[in-house]
């Protein structure tokens, strides 16, 4: 892996920029502009801008990926005309939504109506900054980054409910209620599944969790936790089969019924951002993050940015699994969803936790790890 770090790159960029600007400026200004504090502040901003751009581009490409995959599942072709194989279609769609007039229903609550989607979007973006993508691409070592990520992840029901309530629409309200109930119900098994990973890796730091998987990925020994985690993630991301908060058959569009134009785009983007983050978490926690098994030829893992490349490949494959599920399963009903959540998922996740504890205790993790990824 290269030792290039994202923060280092942005620091260098800003430093280079400021010194070159400073060299042509008169005396008091150049000293001020090449001052270390300014460089530091600006490099943080550049870092954030790169993160933002990367998250947005990834999200939009993710939408493209889903559209293409879903298209083939449905015997269609998906987007194919704007850009190569329709890659730019979603940018065009975004542009169209951006140009649209944003309106709000007369009886809607202005503050909630506009702040809801914004906050939903913003919290989803923050998530992206927390997650490490490769050794270089992380926002510094936070000892509790996993916990932080999941904490921010669970903000969403609040903002969804705020926007649903302030829309002043019956469908939105029902969608918001369902959304809140569903997310809270699946928060618990999700966290318990994560606890299994934490027990095995012994850390809340995502970077550490990934480096722990250098030898064996966790999906083998922690398969039960993986299943619970994926199911929980599906519910958290509100994707079929758990998309009943926005079940279009009965609730029109659920909690975002009244939203159009850019506000709708916010919801849409944030949904896929959360989808991306969900896939990231699956890759980070269970599929070894940016690491590759040692039997993979060195040429495939040693090129520049190989970590990010493999990480994204895994992410997109995981998201492909979500799309596959979406293409083949119907939507469940609220009561069934909640029953499965409380009655099945929580016992399962508890079992996963105990299993992980047992595996750690008897120290047979590598044995299970060997099976799925041979040649550790």
């Amino acid at each position: 892996m290269s030792s290039l770090s994202l923060y280092g790159v942005s620091f260098d960029l800003v430093h280079l920029l400021l010194t070159s600007i400073g060299s042509v400026l008169p005396y008091p200004l150049d000293a001020w502009i090449t001052n270390g504090t300014l460089v530091l502040v600006l490099s943080v901003l550049v870092f954030a801008a790169i993160l933002l751009a990367a998250s947005m581009i990834n999200t939009i490409v993710l939408i493209w990926w889903e559209r293409k995959l879903l298209g083939r599942f449905m015997d269609r072709r998906g987007a194919m005309h704007v850009g190569y194989a329709g890659l730019l279609q979603n940018f065009a769609d975004g542009l169209k939504l951006f140009r649209k007039h944003t309106f709000k229903p007369a009886e809607a609550d202005t503050l909630g109506f506009f702040s809801g989607p914004t906050a939903y979007m913003v919290t989803s973006m923050i998530l992206f900054g927390v997650l490490p993508i490769s050794t270089g691409w992380n926002s510094g070592s936070l000892p509790l980054s996993l916990l932080l990520a999941l904490a921010i992840f669970s903000f969403a029901p609040l903002f969804i409910f705020v926007s649903a309530w302030s829309s002043n629409n019956k469908y939105s309200l029902m969608g918001g209620m369902r959304s809140a109930a569903q997310m809270i119900a699946y928060e618990v098994p999700l966290l318990l599944a994560v606890v299994a990973v934490v027990i095995v890796s012994g850390s809340f730091d995502l970077t550490t969790i990934v480096t722990e998987q250098q030898n064996y990925w966790f999906w083998g020994p922690l398969f039960l936790a993986l299943v619970v985690f994926v199911a929980g993630m599906l519910a958290e991301m509100e994707r079929i089969p758990f998309d009943l908060p926005e079940a279009e058959a009965e609730l029109v569009e659920g909690w975002n019924t009244e939203y159009g134009g850019m506000l709708f785009a916010f919801f849409m983007l944030a949904d896929y951002l959360r989808g991306l983050v969900g896939s990231f978490l699956v890759v980070l926690l269970f599929l070894g993050g940016w690491t590759m098994p040692s039997w993979v030829p060195g040429a495939l893992t040693n090129f520049p940015l190989a970590g990010i490349f493999w990480f994204l490949v895994k992410t997109y494959l995981v998201f492909g699994l979500f799309v596959w599920i979406r293409a083949s399963l119907p939507r469940v009903r609220t009561d069934q969803l909640l029953r499965v959540g409380w009655n099945r998922m929580i016992p399962l996740s508890l079992a996963a936790v105990f299993l992980a504890a047992a595996l750690v205790t008897v120290k047979c993790l590598p044995v299970f790890g060997c099976l799925p990824s041979p040649g550790v």
Binding site: D75, K170, A249, E250, A327, S328, P330, V332
Partner: protein, 378 residues
């Protein structure tokens, strides 16, 4: 809390308004409001020539145009004392059975879409398109066929049609297996559909519900078998019945009906291969299709003594039992045309099969009814 599900709502499949009263997610009352698509077809028919009414029939139900054409044409022939040739009757049976497959495929697509299954929606539409291709190859249109005529049909089949039709039937038979795997094989599907929208046989009969909904309650009633018309007396088929009376049972009945239609169609195609003949009765009065006298001079035509008559027909439309009543008062125009739409009756029983279930159950239940608002409102 009353919720308006419609007139523009993803559940409605057409323009109508289902007002539901809910308590939490539980439905306590409901009241369908119809009429958003009322075009006055019965009134317009009074001003049309007998063959011109056929253009309206295609638009009565946009997924089962042939069935409605057939219904009207049967009643009009009865009223006008015209006997179609035998080959025309087989051709009409061919149309109606293909239309049944097409309509049920459309229903399948919409129904699975309602419960959130996305890909089978397109499988259903794709396979229905093959049926529409066949229609287009001999009628010239994909949905508004205007193919049947009082006294026969417009034209004969193009050469090679039966071979292609058999290929389509083979393809469709394979797909039905796939459909079942996607739906019945999925536990979530079964959990969504089992025990929903139960309408017992007694309730069905009392509320006038017919078609697959009635047969799913175990009542073996099919106009094709009870009062055979066209070529059905000569054909061999089974009436699909189920005993669940719920959404799954309706799914099973419709799937089995498609299989039976395939079986019927194979017999019809075999017959058509070996029995060439005329497809339109000879010596038909030409005023069936076109007015002769300009408006304001009708009396010169009315003076002629056309034989009066009444026609009544009833057929097994894909949605249920449709009936037509045509009164011929000896003029070029039907005096009165009255249609009975099966969906009209099926929808009037909404309260019986919707109350007591949840809001999330409305799409599967209403989807299993197979609504075509065009024929409800006419």
């Amino acid at each position: 809390m009353w919720i308006n599900m419609g007139p523009q709502h993803p559940m409605t499949h057409g323009l109508w308004n289902l007002r539901v009263k809910i308590d939490g997610e539980l439905i306590t009352d409901c009241d369908p409001e119809m009429g958003y698509l009322h075009r006055g077809i019965e009134k317009i028919s009074e001003d049309r020539h007998y063959n011109e009414v056929i253009t309206l029939m295609d638009r009565t139900c946009y997924v089962a145009g042939f069935a409605w054409e057939h219904l009207y044409v049967l009643a009009a022939e009865e009223a006008l004392h015209i006997q179609p040739p035998e080959r025309a009757e087989y051709l009409r049976t061919l149309c109606e059975e293909f239309q049944r497959i097409g309509s049920h495929l459309m229903w399948y697509a919409a129904f699975v879409q309602d419960i959130g299954l996305m890909s089978p929606f397109l499988y259903g539409m794709r396979d229905r398109d093959l049926v529409l291709d066949l229609f287009q190859s001999y009628t010239g249109a994909r949905m508004t066929y205007e193919y049947m005529r009082v006294g026969g049909v417009r034209n004969d089949l193009p050469p090679g049609f039966t071979g292609h039709a058999r290929k389509v039937l083979d393809w469709l038979s394979d797909r039905f297996v796939e459909y079942d795997r996607l739906c019945l094989g999925s536990d979530i599907f079964r959990k969504r559909c089992d025990g929903l929208g139960v309408l017992s046989a007694a309730d069905c009969v009392a509320t006038g519900v017919t078609g697959p909904m009635l047969r799913s309650a175990g009542v073996k009633r099919d106009v094709r078998r009870d009062r055979p018309y066209a070529a059905y007396p000569q054909l061999d088929f089974d009436v699909a019945v189920a005993d669940g009376a719920d959404v799954t049972a309706r799914y099973l009945v419709r799937m089995e009906e498609m299989r039976q239609s395939v079986r019927l169609l194979r017999q019809v195609l075999d017959w058509l291969d070996h029995h060439p003949g005329p497809v339109l009765a000879d010596r038909l009065p030409r005023w069936l299709g076109a007015p002769y006298a300009p408006v304001g001079k009708e009396e010169y035509v009315l003076k002629r003594n056309y034989p009066k008559g009444v026609g009544f027909s009833s057929i097994e439309e894909p949605h249920g039992e449709a009936q037509a009543y045509v009164v011929n008062e000896g003029s070029e125009h039907p005096y009165r045309v009255k249609f009975r739409s099966p969906v009209f009756a099926n929808l009037s029983a909404t309260r019986h099969y919707l109350v007591g279930y949840r809001v999330a159950d409305i799409p599967p239940i209403m989807g299993s009814v197979d609504i075509c608002v065009g024929e409800v409102d006419r």
